[in-house]
Amino acid sequence: MAALEALREVIVGPVHVAAVLPDAVAEASRRRSRELGAALEPAMTRAVRDVARREPAMFGEILAPTIGTAVRRAVADAVAAMLQRLNEALDHSFTLRGLSWRLEARRSGRAMSEIVLAHTLVYRVEWVMLIDTERSLMLEEVSLPEVGAKAPDQVSAMLSAIQAFVSEAFQPTAPGGALRTVEVGDITLWIDHDPQLTVAAAVRGIAPRELREMLYATRQSIHTEHASALVDLHSSDRTSSFAAARPLLEDCLRCVVKPTPRRAQRLLAIVGIVGLTAAAVLSLRACETSRADASLQRTYRQLLEDQPGIAVLSIARDDGGHRISALVDPRSPSLSTLTALTHVLPLTLETRPFRSSDPRLGPPLAAVDAAIHELETLQFEFARGASTVAPTEVARAAELFERVRAASALHGMQPCVDAIGYSDETGSAVRNAGLRAQRAQNVAEALVAAGVPRGLVSSRPATTSADGTRAVRLRASLRPLAHVREECGA
């Protein structure tokens, strides 16, 4: 038993195990690395945690090189982003657009750099390349359809050449000295690389710094998802095994357009609303002006026509005032008053002489007045609801008109006859109004048919049926021969 124990001590004792342990671990790592890792992980985790707690300074010292590089890179990216914004702000400070942005910044109370960024944050990742870092050979590349890549192998080689040139010529001393950005005009090449793979993106415009993270993530994904292709890559010169990585690269292609159209639409909508409001206000004002003007014209007309021997032909707006065209009997006592008014009010008066039959101007011309009196006494009677004109009355009216015309012609005048239709109050107001108009029109037409010149006859319905007469009466007025057509035909 003692011998067995001694033998056991020899075989599995610490001395023997210590002697074979390194080789055993190496062999296990080679043959069963996954199982070995799983077996050691709990112990290793616990050990690392204990050391980290017990010796934080030492642990920090161990991690410092890695963390330091990562922090340096993060800080460098942040500073670069800040400088990028600052540079953009400065670039646009003294341009017309810059001035408009400055005004916008003042209006909105936002920082100028924010305004600049908001306006310029438009970029397009046009071309994404996956490059074998060591051999600078293009492994795969994708581009936007409208761009189209040119000579990709020369591009990838030249990229490497530029990096070699910078390194050789300027001997950078900072660690990880590799080309990360190339800027020419509005194109920037963003480059993310490790000793095996390089991912480069050609960006037009100003891309956010997140793009660098995206390139990094893409490169890591390719390492993870295409590990076998990477092994194969360095065991031969084949380069076609990365076609499967195209979707990862295509994810980096993008075209970010600032939402100008939406803003423009909003602006257009605002302009439209303002325009419509302005138009409505102007239109309202125009309506009010028009109404006020019509009211004033009515007042002028009423005032003038109340005067004996004055007949208004027209009133119209003229250069801030009104132009009144009127027929004035030279006997009218209001003529001098009217003339004086034109000096006080914004009025322009155009007068033409005529002979008025107004009794306020004194006794009428006997023959003419007598004929007019007879003509105006004549009445065309109608049956209830009828508008047919009796021929006998028409003939009499035509004869009387001819007498008036002959008499007035001796004085350089000519009569105009206005047929005014009346109706009783039986029936609806609408029907009666139509009846009055129809009766007046029929009489006027009958007179024309009987020989009265059409230009000297007019017709109109009476405004009411208050007097209960079913008739048409004639009203005659004298006008100078030259103006009869204009007045009566109106």
Binding site: D132, T133, E134, R135, S136, L137, M138, A151, D153, Q154, S156, A157, M158, S160, A161, Q163, A164, F165, S167, E168, S236, D237, R238, T239, S240
Partner: protein, 169 residues
């Protein structure tokens, strides 16, 4: 199988590296000399058996007393062409010095030696001894003429064949 290979041209200044590439890729030759600054890169496709080989050719600036070949340009090369001017003996010495300097950097990859300007027979300045020292290490030593095109394509084909044979397990 489709392959891509990076190959470099090195040699003294004015030996005709750019002219060789111009003859190979564009089938042209120009008497006008323009020195290469840095590197020029061209691509072309060769068919070797079942393989279609895309060559990415790095035409490096020449080595002289004012400038030297940048080793970084040679990193990752599958092979290279060392060019010598047959009318200038000293370019063979430059080539030998370059080889000594570059081999630790690029490793043991195949290379050929192109003794260029073979059309200038009257001005030939090289004897067998000057060339002999390259024959042991080079996959091939070829007399080429960028002017006439003689053996230019053959030189590059020989380099590609050497690379492919090394790559084949």
């Amino acid at each position: 199988m489709r392959r891509k290979l990076k190959v470099c041209l090195i040699g003294a200044t004015g030996v005709g590296k750019t002219s060789l590439v111009g003859r190979l890729v564009h089938s042209v030759f120009s008497d006008r000399y323009r020195t290469t600054i840095g590197v020029k890169i061209e691509t072309m496709t060769l068919t070797r058996g079942d393989d279609e080989v895309q060559l990415v050719i790095w035409d490096l600036s020449g080595e002289d007393e004012f400038q030297s070949v940048q080793p970084a340009y040679l990193a990752g090369a599958a092979g290279y062409v060392v060019v010598i001017d047959g009318t200038r003996r000293e370019t063979a010495d430059t080539a030998a010095a370059l080889l000594d300097r570059m081999r630790p950097i690029v490793g043991h990859v195949p290379y050929i030696v192109a003794v260029n300007k073979s059309d200038l027979v009257a001005s030939w300045d090289l004897d067998h001894a000057a060339i002999e020292r390259f024959e042991a290490g080079a996959a091939k030593v070829v007399n080429t003429s960028a002017r006439s095109g003689a053996f230019v394509a053959e030189a590059f084909e020989a380099l590609v064949d050497a690379i492919l044979s090394e790559a084949t397990p």
